[in-house]
Every structure is written in structure tokens, then in C-alpha cells.
Symmetry: C2
Subunit: 404 residues, 2 copies
């Protein structure tokens, strides 16, 4: 008998019919003789609807009250799923985040889990019950309801799997696993049977979207065995674990991509020691996320600095930089929109120095100009024009033989 943590996202519990389907997935696992803890998100568009109500009342709603409001979404799902499981003849009991003992730091909207008191859940499991836990939420030491921010339910599932020492954490989603690239655009995209935490982390960070990077990092730290699989199709998913045990001979494992990227260039930046930190501290304090950063020094001694941001932050970034022009000490600003980022990921790259070169060659051969480059040990990203994005993914996917 094993202990499995199953996580179902908002789409998988989007309506009553789907909740009944999820109950079926849970029953299959208990029928195999396993103990099961189920983590669920809010139903479909519930969170958006709650956010909209709050916005009608306040332009900047209190974060504590926002958490109080949003936490109701998962609470609805856990109770309905418990009812559905009982209809299938299973003993089931629902737990909110606070009832499940999920303690977080006292931060609203984006809290991190600090500990999980598992006694209550373990007591229910020992009585043969399926325990359904509200994802995305926790409680502070002083009794305030918190939420975990984006990817919160994934994180709840992985954290519970770690705390309960579960044998496996199954992340059910609307795709059948992790693919070499997005199958909606590249028909030859192929499902990976296994992938390492680090590779998944790069893919997750690069917008692959099936699993939140925070949850992957948590899983890596606590060595939780993850599987990404479909709640609708009964097929094998993708295992994420310490080392990818199969297909090791492949250097590149996947191609990730995202659009709506803007490159901002700061020309003639004074070459003081603090100029870089001042710029990025200023942007960070305005909640603007910066991705790739490139600096080059000119003959005159000043620097030119380029960095990429999400296009939604474009105007605000320019405003922030303009407003602080005297402090930041630069000559001119420039921005280029309609860019995209294409990345190849694979832990085999570490020992294969030619991979980046091969990527640039493939893009060049297809007349795709590279605007910025960023590399990590297991990833190479190139910023290109948005209009070339799908073509770039296609040619890279083919060049690195990912469809085979």
C-alpha cells in the first residue's frame, strides 16, 4: 500500500461533471489499495469572478481581505469533491488549508509554506479516509488566512507529499504530460516519459505552463517524485525525478517559447559601481520582473544596457526610468516590442559545448535574427522577433531531433 498525493487544477474541477470525473480518478487509486490525499484548486473561472467583484469595490483591495475572499474558491471545490467521493462509496473528508495544518509566513497574496502539521490528515488516512485538501491556501501562526500566489495548488500538493512522505505526487492537468515543445503549434512535439527536476524547472520557468516552477523547486529540494498526467485521458504521463532515467543520450530535451516580450535599452549609462543595482532595485520596487540582462561598455567609458521584460510592463518601465532619470544617470532610452523568447533545455548540454552554437546556426540558416541571448548550464535562450517564433521552434525541434 502506497500513499499518493493527487492534484487537480481548476479546469479539471471546472464543473459538476468534471468533479465527478475527478472522483473517478481518485477511486482508481484507492481501488489499487493506495491511501490518497487530493489537492484541488478553485473551480474554473471562480477566482477570476471573485477578483472582479473585489475590483468593483476597490481599486487596490486589502491583501488580507483578498486572501479571505479567494480562499473560498477552493473550499467550495473540496466540499463538492468530498460529496462526489461519498457518492462513489468512498469515505472522504474535506480540509481547508488551516484545517490541514498548512502554516505559512505572515504575507498575503504570495505566502510561502513554513510548516505543515500533518497529524489531523494522518489520523484521517489511518481511518481509511480519502483526505481532500484545499490548495493555494494556508494560515499564519496568528490565525489569518493566506494564499500562496501563482502555482499555489501545485505547491500545496508537493509540500503535502513531502510532509507526508508520500510515494508519489500526481499533478493532473489538461495535457497528457510534458512535451518536447507545445503540441498545439508543433505537431511533431513528443511527450517525454521522464525529465529531471532541473530540466523541468527550466521548462516551467520558460513558460511551458504545465507545472509551476515553485512546485518543481520544492519537489527537487524534498526529492518528491512527480508525475504530470491527464485527468481526462487514461495514459501514462511524464515522470519528474532526480535524474531522467531514459533517453539520456538526447542533449536537448525540449523547446520552450513565450511571446509578448519587450527589450528595453538604456544608452549612455554612467559607469559608476552602483548604476546597475540602482536600475534593477528601482524596477523591482515597482514589481517589474526583468528576465535577460545584457551590458556592454562603449569606447567613451559609459555603458549600454539592455534587458527584457513582459510587454505588459512596457509603459510602466519607461515611466519608472524617466522618473528616476537624474538618479540613474543615463542619456537615452529605447524599447523594442513584438519580441519573443525561444529556448532549448536539456541537462545533457552541460557536457556538450557545441549546443548553443548549433542553435544559433539553425536560426541563422532560417534568416531569424537573434536580438539577445541568455544561457544557463542546461538552457540556451534567444530573443527574436515575435513573427518568427513558431518557425524558430519548429526548426529547432527538428534540428535537435526531438520528434523522434
Amino acid at each position: 500500500m502506497g500513499l499518493i498525493v493527487q492534484k487537480f487544477g481548476g479546469t479539471s474541477v471546472g464543473n459538476v461533471e468534471r468533479i465527478l470525473n475527478v472522483a473517478g480518478c481518485v477511486k482508481e487509486e484507492t481501488d489499487r489499495g493506495n491511501q490518497v490525499v487530493v489537492v484541488v484548486s478553485a473551480m474554473g473561472k471562480t477566482t477570476d469572478q471573485l477578483v472582479n467583484m473585489a475590483k468593483e469595490i476597490s481599486g487596490q483591495p486589502s491583501k488580507r481581505e483578498m486572501d479571505m475572499l479567494l480562499a473560498t474558491g477552493e473550499q467550495v471545490t473540496i466540499s463538492l469533491l468530498a460529496m462526489a467521493l461519498k457518492e462513489k462509496g468512498l469515505e472522504a473528508v474535506s480540509y481547508t488549508g488551516w484545517q490541514a495544518g498548512i502554516v505559512t509566513e505572515p504575507v498575503h497574496g504570495n505566502a510561502r509554506i513554513t510548516k505543515i502539521n500533518t497529524e489531523a490528515i494522518e489520523g484521517e488516512l489511518n481511518q481509511g479516509k480519502v483526505v481532500i485538501v484545499a490548495g493555494f491556501q494556508g494560515i499564519t501562526e496568528s490565525g489569518n488566512i493566506t494564499t500562496l500566489g501563482r502555482g499555489g495548488s501545485d505547491t500545496t500538493a508537493v509540500a503535502l507529499a513531502a510532509a507526508l512522505n508520500a510515494d508519489k505526487c500526481d499533478i493532473y492537468t489538461d495535457v497528457t504530460g510534458v512535451f518536447t515543445t507545445d503540441p498545439r503549434y508543433i505537431p511533431s512535439a513528443r511527450k517525454l516519459l521522464s525529465i529531471s527536476y532541473d530540466e523541468m524547472l527550466e521548462l516551467a520557468n520558460l513558460g511551458a505552463g504545465v507545472l509551476h516552477p515553485r512546485a518543481v523547486e520544492f519537489a527537487k529540494n524534498y526529492q518528491v517524485r512527480l508525475e504530470v498526467r491527464s485527468s481526462m485521458e487514461k495514459v501514462e504521463g511524464t515522470i519528474i525525478e532526480g535524474e531522467a532515467t531514459m533517453e539520456q543520450n538526447l542533449v536537448v530535451r525540449g523547446v520552450a517559447f513565450e511571446d509578448e516580450i519587450t527589450r528595453v535599452t538604456v544608452l549612455g549609462l554612467s559607469n559608476s559601481l552602483t548604476s546597475l543595482s540602482t536600475i534593477f532595485t528601482t524596477l523591482a520596487s515597482n514589481q517589474i520582473n526583468v528576465d535577460i540582462i545584457i551590458q556592454s561598455t562603449t569606447e567613451t567609458g559609459a555603458s549600454n544596457l539592455s534587458f527584457s521584460i513582459h510587454t505588459k510592463d512596457w509603459l510602466e518601465t519607461l515611466n519608472v526610468l524617466e522618473d528616476n532619470k537624474s538618479e540613474l544617470s543615463y542619456e537615452q532610452l529605447d524599447a523594442e516590442n513584438k519580441l519573443a523568447k525561444v529556448s532549448i533545455v536539456g541537462s545533457g548540454m552541460i557536457s556538450n559545448p557545441g549546443v548553443a552554437a548549433q542553435m544559433f546556426e539553425v536560426l541563422a540558416a532560417n534568416n531569424i535574427a537573434i536580438k539577445m541571448v541568455s544561457t544557463s548550464e542546461i538552457k540556451v535562450s534567444a530573443v527574436i522577433e515575435e513573427k518568427h517564433m513558431h518557425k524558430a521552434v519548429e526548426v529547432l525541434h527538428e534540428a535537435f531531433e526531438l520528434g523522434k
Copy 2:
């Protein structure tokens, strides 16, 4: 500086605009220098929608899970109202039932409050905050969420007012107070400025609908001063307190009425000592509420028994009695539908023996036949044909000079 508990029902918080209006009512009270605790229900039809979702999943949903589900309704309202109050510049903080320390017995769907740990709320009040508490819900000693059943939010408000030793508990509703009878049907109905707990209890029990009898009883036991008033119209409401201090010369204070009443008659019931208790125990165990009961003995030694029920329980009542015919030992069943109950209420009746006689006389003079009668110290009820109900209310209202 006083401490006021304000309660707003589902209609008063039915949409964002109304929540903003409620925030205005709260601010008026804090502007007067009072500390305020606000108790709110779920928004408008929220509870019905949640119940419907549960019913789609299960014909008989688990009561624990039903409480888990329904408790989200008030949690949405408290967070939105807290945001609205902050928009008006007030410091406000929302509390679920469990955060507010509302402990109940371990019963789901209809729990009674056993104690309230007020430390947290008092701490917030002392910091100058308005505390918004989710009505209708509590928590058991072992940490399960419970709901208080019908009239639950009224009960939460009164219980909090008692526990916090509040100066007053204002029940905001969609009418401006307690009337001598329903002003929708009787234009001469007049708002009462004050009424005693006992009179309100009879009126509440008789379907006046503004305030749940359970809350009135709680208020009476703990001597909580109540006011029923309108959340939309800024006018004086009706004070409910120990003794009605005004209009004491009036014997009858109000006329209550309800329709959809069925009279069931059991003919030829064997005259054993246990026959009555067996019948009503059997009905109670099938959740059938019985109101008026009349028994008469015939010449043959057997009894005829009549009792009134809500018409919705009509068929089930007959089925239950048929199914247990041999045990109950009777000859024949009979039922009459389309009946109504009209009642006059007033604490002055205790010392006025002629009041019941006057009521019967008025009805007779208007050719309205009385099918059943029930009396208490401060109430006389008559069951009549439904088609005469409004006429009966009108003539009684006039005869007892309630419009003046």
C-alpha cells in the same frame, strides 16, 4: 462611546452596490463615535446556488461537507465588506466564524452556539477597527466548520452582542421595522415603535419573517436590546426589549398570518396511553413539524385527533401514518388542504380574557368559519380557509384598532 452589533441579511448585501450601501450604514455608526461589530449573511442567492451544486452531485449530501460548502457564502461577503469599509477610510478586518471564536455543538446543519471566545474581536475593537464577522457559522471544539441553520445570522449577531456586552444589536432588513401586520396586504398596517421579546417571539414564530424566533429567544435570555430597521431607508425601526414601554394600553399588538396549512385528522384512534406520543414521535422522526394539535374523545371511547402541518409535508405525513397504521391503531385518515392560520398577538391579553371571544366574534360576523383554535398566554390563532385569510387579517386589524 457605545458598542453596537449590526446585522445585515442576504438582501442587504445582495450585490456590490448594496455592500457599499452597508458600508455607509456602518460608517454612520462609527461617525457617532461607536465601536461596531458587523455580522453579515451570504450575498442574495449565493446559498441557493451552492445548495443546487451540491444537489447535482448528491441526493443526500454529507452534512459536514454541506456546512463546509455553505460557509464560503458569508466568507465572500465579509471580505468584500471589509474592502468597502477601507474604501470609506475605516480600519476594518473580517473574521470567519472560527476566527471570531464562535464555538458550537458538534452538529452539522443546525448547530447551537455553545460559547464565544471574544478575545480576538475585542483586541481588534480596542485597536479602533470595525470587525466584520461571518454570520450563520461556527466551529466545533474539534475544528469542524458548522452552520447554525435557519435564522443563523440573526443568532450570530445576538450571541455576539450578548458575549461582547454590546449596548445594542441592530438587525438591518428590507423593511423598516415590525408592523402590526404585513403592510404588503393591509395598507393600514402600522409600524410598532417597541415590542416585548415575548410578543416578538410569537410574531416571529407566526411567520412575520423579519427576525428569526431563535434569535429573539437568545436576545430575551441575555437581555440584548434589539432594533429591527431598514438598511435602505434612514428611519427609526422597532425596538425589541424586556417590556414594551410604549402603547401599553393596547391589548393586541399585531396580526400574523401564514398560508399553505393542511389539517390532518386521524379518526377512531385507540385510546391507549401511548397512542398520541407514538403518532408525534413517528412524525418527528420523519422531520415533519406539527403545529396545532386538537384531540376529542368520542362516545365509543376512541379518539379523533386533528393537527395542522405545512402543506409541503402533506403527502409524506399521510404516507408515514399509513405505513405505521397497525402500530398506531386507528380507523381512518382525513386531510384538508388550502387552509391558513391567522393569529393575534399581544402581552396585554394575559389580563384580558375577552380577547379570544372578540376574535371569534369578528370572524363569525364576516362569515369566516374557524377550523381549529390554539392559544397561548399572549396569542390566539385560528385556522381558517386560505381564501379568507387576507379578509380575516383586515377585519381583525381593524377590530383591534391596530391602524391607529
